[in-house]
């Protein structure tokens, strides 16, 4: 294609301007425009965060000043100290960390283990079983949330952390994501290990797991972030204040003290901060995970 193109160019090029410098100029103007557009649009997308952070450092009365003060007249860093006394933030954070870590660990473990069965071991009924996994990903959670609740109620697990752990530790999505990745690992590797006398469990632990670090990382990050940010699950299952997660705590703080605008923004910043740190550490895997699986 590149071979045939050059002879056509001078004939068809409609631009009357000299091809050399004029064209480069046009390209750089376009680049400049693209930059400008990107900067303006990204700034617009980031404005809510900027406003959140700025408001978290103000007095309540200053949050809604007219015109908007983007930089606080005085930085009230003490907001970040006071909020711990206003709500049991430490309890909420501890609960969120506990749930997110436990669920992530279980999901990565059982998900990657099951994915090996689906990707690397042949047995009758395997594909039908996998289809059942896929099918439930497509069913909206709301469609089976009531029976789930009834099961949990009968088991006496409503208002316990265990209910949320059980509900989210065995996700079909995790199995799906890991299987997709395992399929890209050549079968010859496990075949060779089998001939060398390694058991299937040994192949999983010593060959496939080490090779699938990027997929494990992206599943772990996605699961952690989703669990940390989950609102509906804890909202339905946890009624006891001591068990609440940061999301429930923040929501109730908003409901109870809806005029303490600065404090509410302080809480919001604190609820987003851990995610920002994790995201910046693992953003490569996030993008990879989404681009390869395409699913949430």
């Amino acid at each position: 294609m590149t071979l045939t193109a050059p002879p056509q160019a001078p004939v068809r090029a409609p631009a009357p301007a000299p091809p050399g410098p004029g064209r480069r100029q046009r390209v750089s103007v376009r680049r400049l425009l693209a930059y400008l557009l990107l900067i303006v649009l990204s700034a617009a997308v980031l404005v809510p965060f900027a406003w959140m952070v700025s408001s978290s450092l103000k007095l309540d009365a200053e949050v809604f000043s007219v015109p908007i003060q983007w930089i606080p007249a005085e930085f009230h860093w003490d907001n970040f100290g006071r909020i711990w006394e206003r709500i049991p933030l430490l309890t909420y954070l501890r609960n969120s960390i506990f749930l997110s870590l436990t669920i992530t660990a279980l999901q990565v473990l059982t998900g990657s283990f099951a994915a090996y069965g689906f990707a690397k071991v042949r047995f009758p009924g395997r594909d039908a079983l996998f289809l059942a996994y896929i099918a439930t990903i497509a069913v909206p959670w709301q469609a089976y949330m009531v029976p789930q609740y009834v099961i949990m109620q009968k088991a006496g697990l409503v208002n316990t952390h265990l209910s949320l752990i059980l509900l989210q530790a065995f996700s079909a999505f995790g199995v799906f994501l890991m299987r997709q990745y395992y399929l890209t690992i050549p079968d010859e590797l496990s075949e060779a290990a089998r001939l060398d006398g390694l058991s299937e469990y040994g192949i999983w632990a010593r060959i496939v797991l080490p090779l699938s670090k990027p997929a494990l990382a992206s599943l772990a990050l996605l699961t952690f972030v989703n669990t940390w940010n989950d609102y509906m699950g804890p909202f339905i299952y946890l009624t006891d204040n001591k068990l609440w997660t940061i999301q429930l705590g923040l929501r109730s703080f908003v409901g109870l003290y809806d005029a303490e605008y600065a404090m509410i923004m302080t809480g919001s910043v604190l609820s987003v901060l851990p995610i920002l740190v994790i995201f910046l550490l693992g953003q490569k895997y996030f993008v990879q995970g989404i681009a390869t699986s395409g699913l949430k």
Binding site: R30, V45, V63, G117, V139, P140, M145, I264, S268, I275
Partner: protein
């Protein structure tokens, strides 16, 4: 490879691999079956029962569905959910595609912009809802201050107004979701061969023509996938509405999943709420199937 394997090894491995295969899947399957597969099937059964948390279940056939289609709240919620989807799907799709095309160029700091635009997607919905509620506050909120500054004398009341509450929810949801779909589009854009653009440029195609005749057709599989994912997630919307407006003011932003939640979890009317679940499921399924059909016809 199979030819080099010793013949007797095959049947023995074939027999034992059933057990081995199941042993890998079992730890996950037990949890998955008990808490996902069984509830999915049970939901269908529950919709034919009259059952609250106290009495014993009673078979009522289609009574729940009959009640549902004569219930005004159901239709309001269905209308609102559709309104949300019709706003959220095209806006998010266009925003995601636009940003992806901009970011697919060879520019400096692309990585920074990508990170910045993706970040709203992973921030908690509660924080998102709280911040947007404040930004959209009618009298003193920054958004309305801005609108007044550019000459709009009576800007909308957003979440306090029955007309503007849904657009407010849609605005916040588009802002949140565009980064995720942008990544999907970026992955799609990377598969388009650069030669296509070079050839078009040589033929004198303008930027818009190249976008229209190369980018859009090449991205068709991605667009199809994005469309399906967006539609399904739109019909399931819950968290954002629950925290931003709780379905109000009045019933102006009440959506189907809130009806399921209120009837099932709050009121304990398991049968009726499962019937609404089934309706939601059938709606999502129908739309998905129609989209698949439409996709296949346009491919031919």
């Amino acid at each position: 490879m199979t030819a080099t394997l010793p013949a007797p090894a095959r049947p023995r491995r074939g027999r034992s691999s059933t057990w081995v295969g199941w042993s890998f899947i079992l730890p996950n399957f037990v949890g998955f079956a008990a808490l996902t597969l069984v509830p999915v099937i049970a939901s269908l059964a529950l919709s034919f029962l009259d059952w609250d948390s106290y009495s014993s279940p009673r078979w009522v056939g289609l009574e729940n569905f009959d009640r549902m289609i004569h219930n005004e709240t159901f239709w309001t919620a269905l209308k609102n959910t559709t309104y949300y989807a019709v706003g959220h799907v095209p806006l998010t799709l266009c925003a995601a595609l636009g940003f992806a095309v901009l970011l697919n160029q060879r520019l400096r700091a692309v990585q920074f912009f990508r990170t910045a635009l993706f970040f709203p997607y992973i921030t908690s919905l509660v924080a998102v809802a709280v911040v947007w509620n404040m930004l959209l506050s009618p009298e003193v909120g920054p958004v309305n201050q801005f609108l007044r500054a550019i000459g709009i004398d009576s800007p909308p009341g957003w979440t306090t107004s029955t007309t503007w509450a849904m657009p407010a929810v849609i605005l916040a949801s588009v802002w949140r979701d565009l980064g995720y779909y942008m990544i999907l589009y970026l992955a799609g854009l990377q598969t388009i061969p650069a030669e296509l653009y070079e050839a078009a440029q040589v033929d004198g195609a303008s930027g818009w023509q190249r976008f229209r005749h190369i980018t859009v057709p090449s991205l068709r599989p991605t667009t199809f996938f994005v469309l399906i994912m967006l539609t399904i997630s739109s019909f399931k919307v819950f968290d954002l509405v629950q925290v931003m407006t709780e379905g109000g003011p009045g019933r102006s932003t009440l959506v189907l999943s809130q009806v399921i939640f209120r009837e099932g979890i709050t009121q304990g009317r398991f049968g009726y709420s499962s019937a609404v679940s089934m309706a939601l499921f059938v709606i999502v399924l129908t739309i998905t199937v129609v989209q698949f059909r439409w996709q296949r016809r346009s491919e031919r």
